[in-house]
Symmetry: C2
Subunit: 250 residues, 2 copies
């Protein structure tokens, strides 16, 4: 039987957010694999807690994440940014390949949220298989994404009746607004580029599903200071902060 690589969405830290299909995939694997940014990466610790709840015997293999060149992003150079991401994916693929060759069996890749949104695992797994040394079937198990937890925590639908949603990154927010988008879900935020959007409405959440979760909602101009303070407080309390928000033109 061909070896299987399960790319498993595990939600955002609460073990109750996994689907039954995800739990079964973890229990059926020989080991789990996660990238590690540093020795005490807090997001690895959260994944370890999810495993402890559902598949406590499953070995967790941590792969040191190659260092990513972020200078292009800071400089706003799109081509250089894309090249830096591609180089980083290639380096990560080589690191994963080494583990997969050394250690046989079915593998569960533990993906934060859902593999479909702003996650590189599927691209890296495809790159590993394209290298030709690892042969396996890939199976994707969806997970609850932070944007769904945001909606659930605020008890909202993410759009007005029958209207559209633009899902984008903090980096591309301004270009989406300039192009006329009026209902935006913004992910992957290094900061909060909300200048000039005082009259829009925001529903914001950080570390959604985790014990350190914080929510803020209201008119941007009224809540932006509270929101920045909450973001700093979450970072200090948890040692990490991941936030997203819905932004709607009034």
């Amino acid at each position: 039987m061909t070896r299987r690589l399960h790319v498993v969405g595990i939600g955002c830290g609460d073990p109750a957010q996994l689907t039954l299909e995800a739990v079964a995939a973890l229990r059926g694997a020989s080991y789990a694999l996660v990238p590690r940014k540093r020795a005490d990466d807090p997001l690895v610790a959260v994944r370890r807690a999810v495993l402890a709840a559902h598949a406590s015997d499953l070995p967790l293999v941590e792969v040191d994440d190659p260092v990513r060149d972020r200078s292009a992003r800071v400089a706003g150079d799109t081509a250089a940014y894309e090249q830096a991401v591609a180089d980083w994916h290639a380096a990560r693929a080589a690191a994963y390949e080494t583990v997969l060759e050394e250690r046989d069996g079915d593998v569960a890749f533990l993906v934060w949220g859902d593999p479909a949104f702003y996650d590189s695992t599927l691209r890296i797994v495809d790159a590993v298989l394209a290298r030709g040394r690892v042969v396996a079937d890939v199976r994707v198990v969806p997970g609850i994404s932070s944007l769904q937890l945001l909606a659930a925590a605020h008890r909202i639908v993410l759009h007005e009746v029958g209207q559209a949603i633009t899902v984008t990154t903090g980096r591309r927010l301004r270009e989406a607004v300039a192009a006329g988008a009026d209902n935006l879900l913004v992910m992957l935020n290094a900061d909060l580029p909300l200048d000039g959007l005082d009259d829009w409405t925001i529903w914001w959440g950080a570390n959604l599903g985790a014990p350190t979760q914080r929510l803020v909602a209201g008119r941007v101009g009224d809540v932006v200071d509270e929101l920045r303070a909450a973001r700093t407080a979450v970072q200090e309390a948890a040692g990490w902060v991941m936030d997203c928000y819905l932004l709607r033109r009034s």
Copy 2:
């Protein structure tokens, strides 16, 4: 203790797609509530099967869905369309209120996919509470949406690295394309308005997660006939068809 209304995303028909949190919400409720379009509504049967797998003792109360005026939609009159939707929400709120007043206890509303996307349950529950006769706390439990199953089945990320996604309806597809969107997730399709998009790439799926699931992917011009035939075949095999697709400019 205040009565609780759980608005529970149950995925798209596969009982393994529920989260543990959703299963616990079903097991803790006094009864479940679903709208019914007609006596033998196939989507009620699918929900009944999900309940049978996880909470077989939970009574399922079926509420007859008010008839919705679809003439405005056909005529393309946006204001009349929105009024027709509002009237339908109000009628559904009155029907739900009657059940909630007659029958006490915590309630689980079984929502197809995720309550955050193109679903009216949260708006209707808010309308029920605004009427003032039912007092309750509302809690939302996210579920796996068809757009996530689409990505998982095709084993894709829903966007290029760092790019945006426009989530919209089949009804609004053409206006999103005209506004420059080049990566679209299209939900709620009455038909497939793909004329003139021959060179775009499509990843399509129908009845995702159900035994009648069908997938088609490729250049629109190459696969559109196959896709229309598959859609008709799914409708005939299952008695219902719900499809969605990712559409990307090449």
